[in-house]
Symmetry: C2
Subunit: 481 residues, 2 copies
């Protein structure tokens, strides 16, 4: 077999990863179906012009991913179980948890225009500055490789309380609990606030990670639709007449997936409803700092504090979108009684949260002002990408297609007239090298209209333009049928 490995080496990626990637992409495209025999290590090393160790490492990586397998005395083959890596499981109904893990797998398929993942661009990560913070900890190695503190490293909790202050929130370091990424914090809160079988309010569409958690813990979602100003409270009020939900999960600052910013008046009324009906508001502020506006939105938590209703709100956030997801650092802020419950639950299965080394480096990074500086550098870039995406949509999309105009965050919500299934567009787009997130992943019930999410964080203007053009072509082709 002639494998042509593109040697577009960038200095950040090891050659063996490139080679593994090439195979992964070909397996995903169906070019190398299950059972295909791969070249021997020796033959491929000669062909690519590298060492056998490099090929060996590439094969090991593919083997670890379950894509290939060695049969003693016979050679190396594409696994019978090798599912195309870039394809989500094509069941009847798209499972939010599968979408999430499939999307993360997608990330590694670099051949794609990836408009599917609401993530920051790795090319813009502040490696140098962060690495310097890591290196500064070398003399403290004994501490940072030990168990660390139960609620998170004190230094980080101090830094995070300062970060929260910048969001208009008065937070004591003692009120901050560090979690393993934002998702673990969300799972913790869901488990602590509701029992299996109980009901939970959420916006529709909502963060797909939440839907996976609810399913896992058997919590029943009560969806509240959105309009341009936020959740439609008349629907919420009607629901509250017949239900006793435990909490309301909300993303008021650059809602995911729509990119909406909820208006203050709506939030004030939401807060009043929560107080009157005795349910907790769980605010997800993961994207609140990623603002392309002159005045970033005031978090619900800050509003509640000002109105003396701070005990009604839990505030969730993370460094994954504003800094780097590989730190696995999330955090939450909660009134004392709830925080105790969260901490007790957290201690049982995690002891100390993310590695102290990374917590301490992040603390230093924030406290020396590097996060502020980083955001100052990247926000204009993301804003330009947002603009490029919106322009491409205006330029290419046929009439009848609508989309949101995000003022922050990484995502844009596109709605089509009913034409063909979400899954079908998703699949066709993938086959043409464009990844989107199908709208069903964000919805409790399937919807008459058709939606999908486009993310502009990790693609440059050119990729966005090409991706949108391709999507528009697929939609037009369908319209003609």
């Amino acid at each position: 077999m002639g494998i042509r490995v593109k040697l577009q080496r960038d200095r950040h990626t090891a050659l063996y990863r490139h080679i593994a990637e090439e195979f992964r992409t070909r397996i995903a495209r169906g070019e190398l179906p299950p059972g295909t025999r791969l070249p021997t290590v020796r033959a491929l090393a000669r062909e690519v012009g590298t060492t056998r160790l490099t090929i060996h490492n590439a094969y090991r990586e593919l083997q670890a991913d379950g894509l290939i397998e060695s049969v003693v005395g016979r050679g190396t083959f594409v696994s019978p179980q090798a599912r195309p890596a870039a394809q989500p499981s094509l069941g009847e109904r798209l499972e939010p948890d599968l979408v999430l893990s499939d999307l993360h797998r997608l990330q590694h398929a670099r051949a794609l225009h990836n408009l599917a993942l609401a993530t920051a661009d790795p090319a813009l990560f502040p490696y140098e500055a962060f690495w310097a913070c890591l290196e500064g900890l070398k003399p403290l190695a004994r501490e940072v490789f030990g168990y660390g503190s139960v609620m998170g490293e004190p230094e980080l909790r101090v830094a995070l309380s300062e970060l929260l202050e910048q969001r208009g929130i008065e937070a004591d370091p003692q009120e901050v609990l560090v979690t393993v990424g934002g998702l673990q914090g969300l799972a913790l809160v869901c488990r602590a606030l509701a029992e299996p079988g109980e009901e939970v309010l959420l916006e529709e569409p909502t963060y797909l990670g939440l839907l996976g958690i609810l399913k896992q813990f058997r919590l029943k979602p009560l969806p509240v639709p959105l309009d341009a100003e936020g959740p439609r409270l008349e629907v919420l009020e009607a629901l509250l007449k017949r239900h006793r939900p435990r909490f309301y999960y909300t993303i008021p600052s650059y809602h995911n997936p729509t990119g909406l910013r909820f208006c203050q008046e709506r939030l004030r009324r939401l807060l009043a409803l929560a107080q009157a009906h005795g349910f907790t508001l769980v605010e997800d502020d993961t994207l609140g700092c990623l603002s392309y506006e002159k005045t970033p939105p005031t978090p619900l938590y800050a509003l509640a504090q000002r109105l003396g209703a701070g005990s009604q709100v839990v505030h969730l956030a993370s460094l994954s979108k504003v800094l780097m997801p590989g730190l696995r650092i999330g955090y939450l802020l909660a009134p004392e009684a709830l925080l105790e419950r969260f901490t007790a639950l957290h201690n049982v299965s995690d002891i100390t949260g993310p590695p102290p080394l990374l917590q301490r480096a992040a603390a230093q990074f924030i406290r020396q002002g590097s996060l502020k500086q980083h955001l100052k550098q990247v926000l204009p870039i993301y804003q330009r990408r947002r603009d490029a995406l919106l322009q491409a949509l205006s330029r290419h999309m046929p009439a009848g297609v609508h989309w949101s105009r995000p003022e922050g965050g990484f995502s844009c919500w596109v709605s089509l007239p009913r034409l063909f299934s979400t899954l079908e567009l998703h699949r066709q787009a993938l086959a043409r090298g464009v990844a989107i997130t199908p709208g069903e992943a964000f919805l409790v019930r399937s919807d008459e209209a058709m939606h999908f999410r486009l993310c502009f964080g990790a693609e440059g203007a050119e990729g966005l333009e090409e991706g949108v053009k391709e999507l528009a072509r697929l939609i037009r082709a369908r319209q003609k049928v």
Copy 2:
């Protein structure tokens, strides 16, 4: 107030941490009761002979821990809520989850002889070699700060499968799931294998982390007592007549807290019972590599594979005890059908496990042979500490006191005739600067006899000798009453 800060600076710990520690210890001892005014930053900096920034940082750390608070215009005070940090909550019954978090808090109180925590000695951590592995990843920064792979980094899964091979287990990298520490893996397995209200078998005493998880998930423990060779299977058989447990949690290789190594014949019969009654065996092998014997024990998983019963066993392990806990790297190996269930559950609340940076560094560390070399260096040291502990026990303990003779791991189980409550000895010992783990933390039911665990991993021979001497003095004093 004259605060005398001991300037025993070791180069691994920042001065401000020493200062914070000094305050923490004094608050814990009750020397600085709630409401005590602390010196101003300026005054203390002058007294200690350091910068104001250092004192500021120490105060911030104490503030983050909730031990002190500043009142604008008045000064800094010990918090009204400042619970003595080194004291577990002294309820009627010792809650395992509280013990665990209290013990971890204890770790930071360096004034103590810490015989309470079954951890490796931070002074023996292989910093230099590990840091070199970290630095080797700097050119790959873009990858290692991104989201990483869903089941763990392929490199690490390959390295772990090699590690498992050394334990006599045939493991494909695809069968390995990386978790956030061993505890998260255990929580995952418990949740996946049993529903709230269902029954679970375990050894008594058992790992205290398990008891916390069972309580949290409302699983009912069915304890099986131990003798010198392992679990008493006639008790297990009797239980199986009346119950249908979902799984059996076992620690066959250097059982925690007793240090026992279960004999092969017992394991073989256990496996047969699991097959006959259709329950899964969950093997915790966290300490299996920490062997002071010529031949380390064969894991249950390896035995099952040889007997064609591999689908009956889940194997849990971690790098926390054999390498460093601050990596937060655990892993598990399971038959395909179960692994799928674990992975689905894992993805919902964690996406990618521990930070890719540390996963990749650990992979490199293992694959270049540094872990093997590290164990070769430290095992003789831990063995000498074990010997020192056993000698001290023989030398000082009065008649009627019995203890186990661990051939691996970090802990020794001491039994006294009924004299006074576990909590009382625990409290008295703490007051004299010796930390032990009270036996109740490992037991489902309170016991007639009195037990406690002594750990020798993190204390030198001298500390062990002094600690045991003090404990013996307390026991003798009580016997005379």
